[in-house]
């Protein structure tokens, strides 16, 4: 090699390093992926640069399963090739000038090869040469014009290749992906892997399809150097763009979150407003007996500011219901039993302040999950107005009944009056005639007067507007007295009586209710008497007592059954009406009074009658602890 050749050689090396330097500087100035790819490919194909005829760039997808065609530069035909090179050589500009020129920026999207190439997809799954390149990070030279043996001999005649490229010759098309062969459509090209550190980025393919120049070892060395910073620039840009996308997605998410938050706080406010405005007191108490919620109405009836209730233990307050029932102990009991408790029509005293108002009180376990109640909710409703209204309705009902009553009474007292008047006339007539008087006639008059007195007594009892005095009633004691009465009365009337659930049951059960001892006794005895008097001699009367506990409610059931059957179907509906009687004795007011007493005690009384079972009266009354 003479001196001139050596100088020329060094000039070429310098020029190529200069190109690398120019490309790297330009690439570093942008974060636009398309622009970076364009700069790299232009550098590779530029006449004053590396001067390859065509260059193709693939990027690997996120799963590393496919290579996707991103950009290709080079003429599509030989004719076009001469045109492009001609125009660039005329301008004779340097690569750096060209990359910054308007021509370059304008032509960014107009390369002809791009049309065919962009978005072409080559799968790496068949494990051919592209995947091998990416795995070992080494470039490959492809020459499909050589047969294997030719290649061997030619290779041997050439200077010994650098150690690192010993396996870089590919002459068998079977080793190459079909999509790639179809795309390049030229038997000699070079494959350069783009790898940033250990991360696979993509593949660059170059060839000299139009001037047919052989690709040299030096070419590959320069391309490898280029590929190093090309790969890291591309990778950085991809990471940057991914980050940018994530950031924009995040900020959109943030907008949605803010929106959701606004809706949530609206809903919260909405619920709170409902709880605050309902005319019912609500207190929520957690497992530690601490009040977590209390509405305005509640602080109103407790006459204590909300701040003195919320966050404080409930047992710092003294709250008592009628009959000295301690509400706080009841709350603790519900917390343990997890069973709802209800107190109807009770007066409440808060911290020793009592009012005349009447309340319904419900203590319910607060169920967050089925097994694990989070506490209790206490609901207190002021029903004073409702009770007043109910009383007004009852008064009206009684007046209307009194109207019907007076018509019936007129008839009921007519028969005794006829007897009394009739016998009085008869006695007077016989006295006038000087005849003897039968004292049995006077007995008849006296009996009828007694009957009238009884009617008057019952009417007064029925019409009396007396408030019943309510107190705690020992129902077990009361029922044992009623059983004594029933046994004596049935014996006197020659009726047999059976009592189911006898004294032992009654003494064990310790049943209490809230009401009037005397009134309840009157009601029970009326029903028992009714059954005994309506029975025929030697008939059987049955008296059942039963207690039913259900869902925190506690009831006593009394049933009185006899063999008598009501002749008329309507009797069962009319039996509680005033003066409706199927008996020869009696005023027809007993069951009417009984029904009213039971209803005053929040109970229910019903009658059933059938040929098969006779007639049964059923009384159901609520018990207290």
């Amino acid at each position: 090699m003479d001196k001139e050749d050596i100088i020329k050689n060094y000039e070429d090396i310098l020029r190529k390093y200069n190109i690398l330097n120019q490309i790297s500087k330009t690439v570093a100035s942008t974060l636009d992926l398309n622009r970076i790819l364009h700069i790299i490919l232009t550098g590779v194909t530029f006449g004053n640069g590396f001067g390859f005829n065509r260059a193709f760039l693939f990027l690997i997808d996120h799963n590393e399963k496919n290579l996707i065609g991103k950009m290709a530069i080079g003429p599509a035909t030989e004719e076009e090739a001469w045109q492009i090179w001609g125009s660039i050589q005329q301008k004779n500009s340097s690569l750096e000038e060209f990359l910054n020129s308007e021509d370059f920026i304008k032509n960014l999207e107009s390369e002809i090869l791009n049309e065919r190439f962009r978005n072409i997809k080559i799968s790496l799954e068949n494990q051919k040469i592209l995947l091998q390149c990416l795995n070992d990070g080494l470039p490959r030279r492809v020459d499909l014009t050589l047969k294997n043996n030719q290649f061997q001999s030619q290779f041997q005649s050439q200077p010994k290749p650098a150690a690192q490229f010993q396996n870089d010759f590919i002459s068998d098309s079977a080793q190459i992906e079909d999509e790639l062969l179809n795309l390049i459509d030229y038997p000699k090209f070079c494959i350069i892997p783009l790898i940033s550190r250990t991360k696979k980025v993509g593949i660059m393919i170059v060839d000299n399809k139009f001037n047919k120049r052989e690709i040299t070892k030096d070419d590959i060395n320069y391309l490898l150097m280029l590929s190093q910073f090309a790969a890291s620039s591309i990778r950085n840009t991809v990471i940057y763009n991914d980050l940018k996308d994530s950031l924009s997605a995040l900020s959109q998410l943030n907008v949605k979150l803010t929106d959701l938050n606004t809706k949530l706080s609206y809903l919260k406010e909405y619920n709170e407003k409902i709880i605050e405005s309902i005319p019912i007191s609500i207190i929520v108490i957690d497992n530690n007996f601490e009040v977590t919620l209390c509405n305005e109405n509640c602080s109103g009836i407790m006459k204590v500011d909300k701040s003195r209730i919320i966050g404080k233990k409930i047992d710092t307050h003294k709250i008592y219901l009628d009959g000295g029932i301690d509400l706080v102990s009841e709350i603790k009991r519900v917390m343990n039993d997890k069973k709802q408790k209800v107190f109807y029509k009770v007066a409440i005293s808060f911290e020793d302040h009592a009012s005349d108002d009447i309340f319904d009180v419900v203590i319910a376990p607060l169920k967050i999950t089925e097994e694990n109640p989070e506490g209790v909710v206490l609901v207190i409703e002021n029903i004073t107005e409702t009770v007043k209204l109910q009383k007004a309705i009852n008064d009206l009902k009684r007046f209307s009944e009194l109207g019907q009553l007076s018509a019936t009474v007129a008839h009921e007292i007519r028969n005794p009056l006829i007897v009394i008047g009739g016998y009085a006339n008869r006695i007077k007539k016989r006295l006038n005639e000087g005849k003897k008087i039968d004292s049995r006639n006077l007995d008849l008059i006296i009996n009828e007067i007694r009957r009238l007195e009884k009617i008057v007594y019952d009417i007064l009892d029925y019409a009396a507007d007396k408030e019943i005095e309510f107190a705690r009633v020992d129902l077990s004691l009361l029922l044992s007295e009623c059983i004594d009465f029933a046994e004596i009365s049935s014996e006197r009337n020659n009726i047999s009586i059976t009592i189911e659930c006898g004294m032992e049951f009654i003494e064990q059960e310790k049943m209490y209710m809230y009401g009037s001892y005397d009134k309840l006794k009157q009601a029970f005895i009326n029903v028992l008497n009714n059954a005994i008097e309506a029975s025929h001699t030697n008939d059987l009367v049955k008296f059942y007592i039963n207690r039913v506990k259900d869902e925190g409610e506690d009831w006593v059931y009394l049933k009185v059954n006899n063999k008598a059957v009501l002749a008329n179907k309507d009797d069962i509906y009319n039996i509680f009406l005033p003066f409706y009687t199927t008996k020869l004795k009696g005023t027809g007011l007993g069951l009417t009074i009984t029904k009213r007493i039971i209803e005053q005690h929040s109970g229910i009384i019903e009658a059933e009658s059938s040929q098969e079972h006779g007639t049964t009266f059923i009384i159901k009354l609520p018990l207290i602890n």
Binding site: N415, I418, G421, G422, Y423, N425
Partner: protein, 120 residues
């Protein structure tokens, strides 16, 4: 002696009518309800019948209907504490409808009147 059947469920009233009519010189037989009243009518062949309306087992209107199907001419007096039944067509089959009173003179007059009418 004329025979009168008194059908009435209330014992004191039944006795009162019986004693008062006996004083007038009639033979008086009694029944406490409609069923017994019909049996007496068949068995005793009375000359006149007095019937109360409100009675157990068979009421006065049913009894009246039953008797009138067999005997169109026997004098029958209905007497009741309830005046409103005069509006009821069924009661028209009776010769008289009287509202009960402690003064039995009108009742006794009607009995006499109807027996005389029957005889003529």
């Amino acid at each position: 002696m004329k025979k009168i059947l008194v059908v009435e469920d209330e014992m004191p009233i039944r006795n009162l009518y019986k004693e008062e009519l006996a004083d007038e010189g009639y033979e008086v037989i009694t029944a406490p309800d409609g069923v017994a009243g019909y049996e007496m009518f068949k068995k005793e062949k009375p000359d006149l019948i007095t019937i109360d309306l409100k009675m157990p087992n068979m009421n006065g209107l049913e009894l009246l209907d039953k008797i009138r199907r067999e005997d169109k001419v026997i004098p029958i007096i209905i007497y009741s504490a309830y005046g409103e039944f005069t509006q009821n067509f069924s009661t028209w089959a009776a010769d008289e409808y009287l509202v009960k009173s402690s003064d039995l003179s009108e009742f006794k007059n009607k009995v006499k009147e109807l027996l005389v009418k029957k005889a003529s």
